[in-house]
């Protein structure tokens, strides 16, 4: 059955309407969870608030397990789902740069939009920074081009890359998440609370 728009079950003209509605859900949940506060987000790196880890892990697993069940019931054709291509080197270097941006700026692009929406001035500056960064990247793309397209042969799906079955991987992922939830709850109790 799904994905509905990809298969023209719902007309393409609805694509942007659905994007907008899904965006509302995305922004609403991020703000409700407290992702509009940079100091709450940064808590995950200092042990005083692990909301990022909890929301992020639960969301990824919910969607993954949902996709597997949808596929099992033939509600969705997983071969039509967009799977991010793997360019190992640029993914790592890009991730390192983003990680630095995260610990210095306190937001990521999505959360900075949420925080800007409720009046966080630091988030608006962060958002401005993203614009400058992407423009700089675009203007100096020739410097990044070789790294951007450098392709190391790696399996596209993570379970193939690790040489295990899809089901086993998802089970391990869930167990890691449960362990992480437990350990971080212990850390949170030990670390001094930060008022923000």
């Amino acid at each position: 059955m799904g994905p509905l728009i990809t298969q023209d079950i719902i007309g393409g003209q609805w694509n942007f309407v659905i994007a907008f509605i899904i965006g509302i859900g995305f922004g609403f949940v991020l703000e409700q969870a407290g992702f509009s506060s940079s100091r709450k987000l940064a808590g995950v790196f200092y042990g005083y608030d692990f909301v990022v880890l909890r929301v992020f892990f639960v969301a990824a697993i919910t969607a993954t397990v949902g996709l597997l069940f949808f596929s099992y019931f033939d509600w969705i054709d997983l071969s039509l789902i967009y799977v991010n291509p793997i360019f190992l080197k640029s993914a790592i270097v890009g991730g390192v740069i983003m990680g630095l941006g995260f610990i210095i700026g306190g937001f990521c692009p999505g959360t900075s939009v949420c925080a800007s929406a409720i009046g966080k001035i630091d988030a608006m500056f962060f958002l401005g920074g993203i614009f400058i960064g992407i423009l700089l990247y675009g203007e100096s793309f020739s410097l990044f081009k070789d790294l951007y397209y450098d392709k190391v042969p790696v399996d596209k799906m993570v379970f193939d890359a690790l040489g295990i079955s899809q089901g086993t991987f998802v089970l391990i992922l869930i167990l890691i998440a449960l362990a992480a939830f437990y350990v971080t709850s212990l850390i949170e109790k030990k670390v001094d609370k930060v008022e923000y």
């Binding site: 991020l30 929301v55 697993i61 793997i86 890009g94 610990i103 306190g106 929406a117 675009g138 793309f141």
Partner: protein, 172 residues
């Protein structure tokens, strides 16, 4: 000061809801969520409008000029407009609207703003090189069980943890 932790949604519930939103994105549009891509489309539109010849000759913006439709007519642009509205609705319900610069008491507002711009710039560059940010590359990438998603997630969060000690004054 009232206890702020009660004002936010339970993180596990929020995670399930976010997962359902993400699943809906896959079910309807066959793709995950994203954020940085919308900024890229906006910039491409600006560059094409302000300097069309420059854009055409650019190895980065050139691909946009070949398409008939404006880059603003993109899935992620509409999705991010929704994010803005969704956050406004949530902020209105929770009574969280307030113009403020949030920062650690150890740093000035000015330092916070400089760090915010610097962080944003790094995220801007990194998201282009890494083919997406925390939403598109890491979260959606993990949900679709792509190797790229897990590499991005480990790379982003691993780096932030490694450098957390150096930048601790910004936060604690």
């Amino acid at each position: 000061m009232e206890n702020k932790s009660t004002k936010y949604m339970n993180p596990y519930l929020a995670g399930v809801l976010l997962g359902i939103v993400l699943l809906a994105a896959f079910f309807f549009a066959g793709r995950g969520l994203g954020a940085s891509g919308a900024v890229k489309d906006t910039i491409a539109t600006c560059v094409i409008t302000v300097a069309p010849t420059h854009a055409e000759n650019s190895s980065f913006f050139g691909k946009y000029t070949k398409k008939k439709e404006s880059p603003m007519k993109a899935w992620l642009v509409y999705e991010m407009l929704g994010v803005l509205l969704g956050a406004i609705i949530s902020g209105a319900i929770a009574g969280r609207f307030k113009l403020k610069i949030e920062h650690s008491p150890k740093i000035s507002s000015r330092t916070r703003l400089i760090a915010a711009v610097a962080g944003g710039m790094l995220f801007g560059i990194g998201s282009q090189l890494g083919r997406g940010c925390t939403s598109g590359a890491a979260l959606s990438g993990m949900a679709s069980l792509s190797t790229a998603g897990f590499v991005s997630m480990l790379s982003i969060f691993g780096t932030a943890y490694i450098f957390a000690y150096i930048f601790r004054k910004l936060w604690i």
